[in-house]
């Protein structure tokens, strides 16, 4: 005879591991993201950018390229497409080019969206280059950073880990609960002497273990391929991870506390997950947003989790720096969980 918690945990594992799709998204997807994005941004070498060139029809060439930059600043290869102005506009709307250069006599006119940073950079580079200089700067004052901890992959991996925990908890817990409710399985289970606390404990335990495995695979992969290091305290990272898991498990239980409709459940889940995925600075820093937005974004649990994880990974943060975020995450988790349990619909 085994304890019900043991069998409930086993059941959760079996349910998860026997669905190859779920395993793929939870384990391999974050690793693929790290791998793909890591490669794309660490081996970037030269940048290529297309520019629409509206000339005065003297050249017959369809396109030509010009390399701008030097060894220290890195090169950008501009490929000029010889087109009419209208055609250039179409290319710009499609996103093929960011900027149209129009030659008027000996002068150049630049057409671009001043809010587009890529176009701005191209404009600055090209005004210099087309006027005969190689770049604005000769690169003597540039010190290239190649140190571990300052690369894009160093920024990315802690965020991916936090995101992985969020996804694992939200989908794993919410979806499982809603499905069991819609199948009348929750109703069937509480019609036995099963203790509700056992059910919830098993849910938390199995999810903590699963997302720990997922996170470890990601970190080990990144360490192996990209030489990622955890500069700060490993035990602090573990505690942070546990508080993050608690936070998202709580949110998941709350979102799944009432509905028995998987479509409604999906909608609620996406409404909670998507804003954080996009805004919490997992892939790119959120500091590009206006100040008021940044102050809101910093309150999201995923932002707190990802930023603190980064502080541990990159900045070498230890216990003293994580007390507040860990407290906030754990508190949020406990509050959501107790509300969720209060209003939870078993039938």
């Amino acid at each position: 005879m085994k304890h019900p918690i043991v069998l409930l945990v086993l059941t959760n594992f079996r349910e998860f591991l026997r669905q190859p799709g779920a395993v793929f998204w939870a384990v391999f997807f974050p690793v693929l993201m790290a791998g793909g994005l890591g490669l794309a941004f660490t081996q970037k070498g030269e940048l290529n950018q297309k520019i629409a060139f509206v000339g005065n029809d003297q050249t017959e060439e369809k396109s030509w390229s010009k390399k701008v930059g030097n060894e220290t600043t890195g090169f950008t290869n501009y490929e000029f497409l010889n087109v009419g102005f209208d055609e250039g506009l179409v290319l710009l709307k499609r996103g093929t080019v960011d900027l149209i250069v129009k030659k008027e006599g000996e002068d150049y006119k630049y057409h671009f969206d001043p809010l587009n940073p890529e176009a701005q950079l191209a404009y600055i580079n090209l005004t210099a280059a087309l006027n005969g200089n190689q770049t604005l700067s000769n690169g003597e004052d540039v010190v290239p950073l190649k140190e571990i901890g300052s690369r894009y992959i160093d920024f990315l991996v802690p965020g991916l880990m936090a995101m992985g925990v969020m996804m694992s908890c939200m989908w794993g817990i919410s979806y499982g609960l809603i499905e069991k409710r819609s199948k009348m399985l929750l109703r069937r289970m509480v019609a036995t002497p099963m203790r509700k606390a056992h059910f919830m404990t098993a849910l938390l335990v199995s999810r903590t273990v699963m997302s720990a495995i997922e996170a470890s695979i990601l970190v080990v992969f990144s360490w192996f391929f990209f030489d990622i290091h955890i500069e700060g305290s490993f035990s602090a990272l573990v505690v942070l991870y546990l508080s993050g898991t608690l936070a998202f498990a709580g949110i998941a239980i709350l979102t799944a506390s009432r509905t028995d409709n998987t479509y409604v459940g999906n909608g609620i889940l996406n409404a909670v997950v998507m804003p954080m995925m996009i805004l919490s600075g997992i892939f790119f820093s959120y500091h590009g947003f206006p100040d008021w937005a940044v102050s809101v974004i910093r309150l999201f649990p995923l932002t707190i989790f990802a930023d603190t994880a980064r502080a541990i990974f990159i900045e070498g943060a230890g216990w003293s720096q994580i007390v507040l975020p860990v407290g906030v995450l754990a508190g949020l988790g406990l509050v959501c969980m107790s509300i969720g349990m209060k209003v939870f619909k078993w039938y």
Partner: protein
């Protein structure tokens, strides 16, 4: 004196404007097999789930062995077994794993699981994933789960709906076996008259939240409706007034589209010769003729004007 197992008094449950259960009194004794028979929407599930403690009555009282759900939920969970009208189990779990999970809630181990697998003929299917089971196997698994704790009171909500006759028969045999060996008290809901008639000592006919009639099959048929039925089809319409033996006719219906009639008569042996003679004289051609005893469906129809399976 028979021991009362379940007592429901003036139980009412309404949903918005639907009176799902509308003041029901029901007493069930130890070892009885009782069928709740009624069409869809009669309130069977609502009543059974209130007895199971899953739904709460708006008013009225339900006691199982003298205990109420409000006070004795823990004990009651130990002594009842149930299958819901519609439970789908975890697809990626095997039959045996599912039973072991539920067994653990009762503090039972693999030995009991093996016994139950044997009991519901699923030993050979124990390694199958639950989503690969046939309808009959799935219902037998649900029954197996409900039997894990050797319940004193078993409540099965439409255990055979949607099953083919063989699968249904297999389930019936398991239940009859249970009655012989364990003396379990059973409430089963169904809209199959044969099932109620074959399995149960007592039949409770429900419609629109009320109990229309209850008793043994014999009692129901003799107390509530008398007579026998003649079904026939002919080549032209026949009015009731022209038929012979008027005083023997209890009820007559004729469908002009299909040219088929149904006669309810007090005594078929007396009535039929006159009827056949009349048909012969009038040169009416009979395409079919069938005489039969009354069924529960006729009873239901006589009380509600509808058929059970409609």
């Amino acid at each position: 004196m028979k021991e009362v197992q379940i007592a429901a008094r003036q139980v009412i449950k309404h949903f918005k404007d639907v009176k799902a259960v509308n003041g029901i009194d029901l007493t069930i004794y130890k070892g009885e097999f009782v069928a709740l028979l009624g069409p869809n929407g009669a309130g069977k599930t609502t009543l059974v789930e209130m007895i199971e403690g899953i739904q709460k009555p708006d008013s009225g009282e339900i006691k199982l062995k003298g205990m109420t759900w409000a006070e004795h939920a823990g004990q009651l969970h130990q002594i009842i077994g149930l299958s819901l009208q519609e439970t789908r189990f975890i697809e990626k779990l095997r039959v045996r794993e599912t039973l072991e999970l539920f067994a653990s809630f009762y503090g039972l181990g693999s030995e009991r699981v093996e016994e139950v697998l044997e009991l519901v003929n699923l030993t050979e299917k124990q390694k199958a994933f639950t989503d690969k089971l046939s309808g009959g196997q799935r219902q037998r698994m649900a029954l197996g789960i409900s039997l894990l704790n050797e319940p004193e009171i078993l409540l099965l909500d439409e255990p055979t709906t949607g099953l083919d006759p063989n699968a249904r028969r297999e389930l019936w045999d398991i239940l009859l076996n249970l009655r012989k060996r364990k003396g379990t008290t059973l409430i089963l809901t169904t809209h199959y008259m044969e099932e109620a008639a074959y399995l149960c000592d007592r039949i409770v006919i429900m419609d629109q939240g009320n109990i229309l009639a209850e008793g043994t099959l014999k009692q129901l048929l003799s107390k509530h409706v008398k007579g026998e039925i003649i079904d026939f089809t002919v080549d032209r319409p026949m009015e009731r007034d022209v038929l012979p033996g008027q005083q023997a006719i209890l009820n007559y219906t004729f469908d002009k589209d299909t040219l088929s009639g149904e006669l309810l008569v007090t005594d078929i042996v007396k009535f039929l010769p006159d009827f056949l003679l009349y048909v012969q004289q009038e040169k009416i051609q009979i395409d079919s003729l069938e005489c039969r005893k009354l069924t529960l469906d006729d009873l239901f129809t006589s009380m509600t004007g509808r058929h059970i399976n409609q």
